[in-house]
């Protein structure tokens, strides 16, 4: 039985290879988290979380807290997903249930793939080119020439950056939701139609709720990407540490102006404070990194709870 023994040996080698790979990936992941936690633990405090960044992060010990960057990250994520989710959902429904495999479906699929391959800095550049057009002044602030004539829009604001973020995550959310919809048994839609529902009602009332978990996953995937993106923040949110709108930025009467002005996010804060970027405050940078990772982990936990709440009644007896 030499052949048999041989097969066992190769099977063991395969298992070892798979196990080592998993162990390595886990180790790298752990190493990053531990390093960030270790380097940032001294910086993170209640005061760090609740105070605003200082005007500059150039000098040692400067940088201040991350309160407005946290808010900036949250605002940007919410704007981005609020724009991207409805569009993605509609696109996915079309792709999964209506597109003929011919020209239209193929063209959309190709467009989505191409968009997924466009680097975020290119999307940011494009967004800036578009949003500086005077027609888009409502998204940011006007830039006036000496004589008071609006020459162009500033093009950098939470709204502009949010729109750019939506474009950036669109392909990923579309793909993820389309897969989720295609995984819904055809019997659901068939059954609803056999009961006389229109195709649209069958899809919208039955198939989409059944795919809820996958839709949540897709949305979270997109939100995670927004939180981690830097290029779009840098170019279309403006390179600022603080909220630049009328102060106090959190006053309800200033909300719209805050959104139309620039600000910072956790990622831009990290760039500003890190010696690798513009500042000289590595511990503040690591502290903000730790906060960012924590926020993303919290988001994922929330999503899995949300997804389970939706499907718990469904799956599993």
């Amino acid at each position: 039985m030499p052949k048999y023994r041989n097969r066992r040996a190769s099977s063991a080698a395969g298992a070892l290879y798979a196990w080592l790979t998993v162990a390595m990936i886990a180790a790298i992941c752990l190493l990053i988290v531990v390093t960030v936690a270790f380097m940032g633990k001294d910086a993170v405090s209640i005061d760090f979380l609740l105070s605003e960044p200082s005007a500059s992060a150039l000098g040692a010990g400067e940088g201040g807290g991350v309160s407005t960057p946290i808010v900036g990250t949250v605002i940007l994520t919410l704007i981005g997903i609020a724009i991207a989710l409805p569009v993605s959902l509609a696109t996915s429904i079309y792709m999964a249930y209506y597109a003929r495999r011919g020209v239209a479906g193929g063209a959309i699929g190709l467009a989505v793939d191409v968009l997924a391959g466009v680097p975020t800095v290119v999307i940011a550049l494009f967004a800036l080119a578009v949003f500086t057009n005077p027609a888009f002044t409502f998204l940011s602030t006007p830039v006036e020439t000496g004589s008071g004539i609006v020459e162009r829009a500033y093009g950098r604001s939470f709204l502009a950056a949010g729109a750019a973020m939506a474009v950036m995550i669109l392909p990923f959310v579309v793909k993820s939701i389309t897969e989720a919809l295609r995984a819904v048994p055809q019997e659901y839609a068939d059954g609803a139609m056999a009961l006389g529902a229109t195709k649209w009602r069958a899809v919208f009332r039955v198939s989409v709720p059944a795919a809820r978990r996958g839709i949540v996953t897709g949305a979270v995937l997109g939100m995670g990407r927004i939180m981690g993106d830097t290029a779009i923040v840098w170019l279309t949110l403006g390179g600022t540490l603080r909220m630049t709108g009328p102060q106090p930025w959190y006053a309800p009467s200033n909300w719209l102006d805050t959104l139309r002005n620039t600000g910072g996010t956790l990622t831009s804060y990290i760039y500003y404070t890190s010696p690798a970027g513009e500042g000289d405050n590595p511990s503040a940078a690591f502290g903000a990194s730790l906060v960012l990772i924590a926020v993303i982990i919290l988001l994922n936990i929330a999503a899995s709870v949300l997804g389970r709440a939706g499907s718990e009644r469904g799956r599993g007896r």
Binding site: A194, G196, T198, R205, R313, G314
Partner: protein, 249 residues
Amino acid sequence: MNASGISAGYFGTGALFDVNLSVPENSIYALIGPSGCGKSTFLRSVNRLNDHIRGFRLEGEITVGGQPVYALRDPRRVRELRMGIGMIFQRPNPLPMTVMQNMLFPYREHIRGRREDAVELAMELRLAGLLDELGGRLNTHAERLSGGQQQRLCIARALMLDSKLLLLDEPCSALDPVSTYRIEDLLLNLKSTHTIIMVTHNMEQARRISDYTAFFWNGRIVESGESERLFASPAEALTDAYVRGVREP
């Protein structure tokens, strides 16, 4: 239900060839035959569920209650048609909602009447015997029921639409014998008010509960007639071989 000269196919590949079938009212008609012989295609043609499949085409005439099915052009009329025809699939397909919401779904889609009326009707149907079994737990999620219970829920749901014709596509093939027996019992009870067409791979089942049987082979009906006669003394050699479980005549 009456079908004459039905030929159908997908993308030019034939699935049915010149099928003629006449189903008397208040009877159970079983369609038997090997997989892929066109039984399901035929069944799904009756309520035009194949319309949504690309490349599907059909010739011939199907009438339900004297109404030519494929003469309907307006999608609304097609939905009205489907309202009058209940369809049960091989895999129980409760919609992902509670038992009661499942029952109300068809009602809400069409009749748009008062919710109380719908609930009353659902209670009247006793959920096809499910009500007593569930002990009134109507807010249970439908997918938590057992397979047999789910299938009976689907039948009860189809009855909500006041349909006269029931199409069943292998309703018991995913179920255990006890659940199968319960469903057969239910179908026999429904025969007094409904016409039932049922695809089945279970020869015993066809023999037990059907009044008539049609034997499909490669998209054609080889033989059809009263079940008792067809199973006892088939006229065709092919039918004889199939019902006896012999490979080829």
